[in-house]
Symmetry: C2
Subunit: 355 residues, 2 copies
């Protein structure tokens, strides 16, 4: 076979990535520069057989026992990209790991879709990828499929990350927002409002110094240990956007029950409480990224709290309320003064771009 | 129980969605306005039990026979949002359906993550959602989990959509870019370059009128019918970003083979060929969104072409080349003049934001 080796390339000359310290449009081409970006920035951290195969899909084994699949997706647009206690990478991993786990599932894998703005610092991107890898390792999940797109300067805000995830739900669990029952107790795994206020502080919007750290964390191990011991858990839900109040309203509506929360029992850090007071926010509407609402039959409360207190992310778990019958779904807050206040869902936007 | 019903709401008054004809930041709150957006814009089109449950996860049954799971993800940033033959919604569904199907899997479900720019027309969003629903119906997949985020005006470009998808791979198939073998034939399901040139035309960048339509289409039924009859298929890959040349290079590298393509056999529409000639593009590097490269043992070529010609999206399928042994992976183009030219991967960016 005769070969005249005229090398055919796209109209842009190949430039090794190490000559770039910023993202350029060519990194989104699907060609050599995309390969370099993947090889030099993503591969060192996201490294597993499914990704190494280099296909457009990942292949994964399903358990043979007919387990159900739990699937979730979340796009992450937090601003700024880094905040006390976390960054967009840790958020992107934990947000989806937690949503998958809220079915009682053991998350096994994530996909990651990156939208990069032209001009994004590659050093910043590398730090985010490293943080994703560390959070995925902590959660015990693999990032099995990825995608990278680049948009022109001014058409995005640095970096957006979508993660989708899935995991297998053990056959004996039936957990969901629709399963809260009269007689159930409501627990929360820790303090409310830390994440939203930490992001606000990182923007310099508080107008004062604070030590508040985001609570962003993977909750799947905590949930695994809880549901392994107490498969009778009815509801698990993380109070993210819209906070505790909005999330409880969703559950009340799904299960058509009244949920009553005792204001004095809801853990709120003093620094979060002061920041909220100064800004006119109600901490019950501020987002959390490492907390879970647990609803389960009354008789398992003590056992659940004992288990939770033994977990890294459950040390401050407390009971905060009860589920009762209701003609219509609603959430009531029993105030420190003893009156019952109706807690509605968040109406509009309070803290944009916190996740 | 005494109830003083002070209604607690976020700081923004609730405004029904029908009073908005544009996206506002509150639509990303996770509260009432997000609910309204979901109820009024998404729910009419994306309607299935998994979504209706209202949890942060979808639950799906796995087959009992130990099938493997095929998983893929893609973020879609195409500009403009609508182009001849398709729109970002159809692209977002078909792109991921096709990637999942390239494992020989039957795609069953998608997740959809929307990043909306403040000010996006809700009419435009509704059209996109409607188009996604129509494409999902055509492909026979369900959109089982979703997420909506809003960023400030100028921090995105109207609308970005991430879709992730999965499906089950029949036990007897083993398909992937690593399985091309010397002696295999290379087929393509239709003409090259239609999508990239259609998007460019929609931008008005061609400088002349053209009738070129994007080929964006779901290929899963075609693939199902092909692999059901010929489970011996080795490779399936859709030549999207980077086009046919880049995609063949990926396969050559994964399988460590030489792939030789006969230039005269590669179908290119005359209008695409003229547009490419005028613009200085090589159509072998232009993206496709409804075509598939099929690599399979020589003896199945006739049977495969007969099956493909019977499929809606395979009528123009042809054989374009062969796989041979190689000391190093490479793709050769046998030109009309009879010489062999080395076809490399796309070096930089040729047509940004085409998917």
């Amino acid at each position: 076979m005769s070969e005249s080796t005229v090398t055919m390339q796209g109209p842009v000359c190949p430039v090794p990535l190490h000559h770039h310290d910023q993202i350029v449009m060519g990194h989104g081409s699907g060609g050599r520069m995309t390969e370099e970006l993947i090889r030099e920035v993503f591969a060192p951290y996201f490294n597993n057989p499914a990704l190494q195969e280099g296909n457009d899909f990942a292949q994964l084994s399903a358990p043979q026992n007919g387990s159900r699949l739990s699937v979730s997706t979340d796009s992450h647009i937090v601003f700024p990209l880094t905040f006390p206690g976390g960054d967009i990478g840790r958020l992107a991993v934990c947000g989806t790991v937690n949503d998958v786990a809220m079915a009682g599932a053991d998350p096994v894998a994530l996909t990651a879709g990156f939208i990069l703005e032209e001009g994004l610092s590659i050093a910043v991107l590398s730090e985010v990828v490293k943080s994703m890898a560390a959070s995925a390792a902590e959660a015990g999940v693999k990032i099995v499929a990825g995608d990278t797109k680049v948009v022109e300067r001014g058409k995005a805000d640095g970096l957006f990350i979508n993660t989708s995830g899935f995991g297998w739900i053990p056959n004996h669990l039936q957990i969901g927002g629709q399963y809260a029952k009269p007689g159930d107790a409501v627990l929360i795994s820790g303090s409310m409002g830390d994440h939203g206020i930490a992001v606000l502080a990182a923007r310099g919007d508080l107008g004062f110094e604070t030590q508040i750290q985001s609570d962003v964390a993977p909750l799947n191990h905590l949930i695994h240990n809880l549901t392994s011991a107490i498969p009778q858990v009815h509801v698990l839900r993380d109070p993210t956007r819209g906070g505790l109040a909005t999330t409880l309203n969703e559950i009340a509506r799904q299960s058509n029950v009244t949920i009553t929360i005792d204001e004095g029992t809801v853990p709120i850090k003093p620094a979060v409480a002061s920041a909220c007071e100064m800004l006119g926010f109600d901490p019950l509407y501020v987002a959390n990224e490492g907390k879970v609402i647990i609803i389960l039959p009354e008789e398992y409360v003590d056992q659940a709290l004992t288990i939770l207190h033994d977990q890294k992310y459950g040390k401050e778990a407390v009971r905060i309320g009860s589920v009762t019958e209701s003609a219509r779904p609603r959430v009531l807050l029993k105030t420190r003064l003893g009156s019952n206040r109706l807690l509605d869902v968040l109406a509009g936007e309070m803290l944009p771009r916190i996740c």
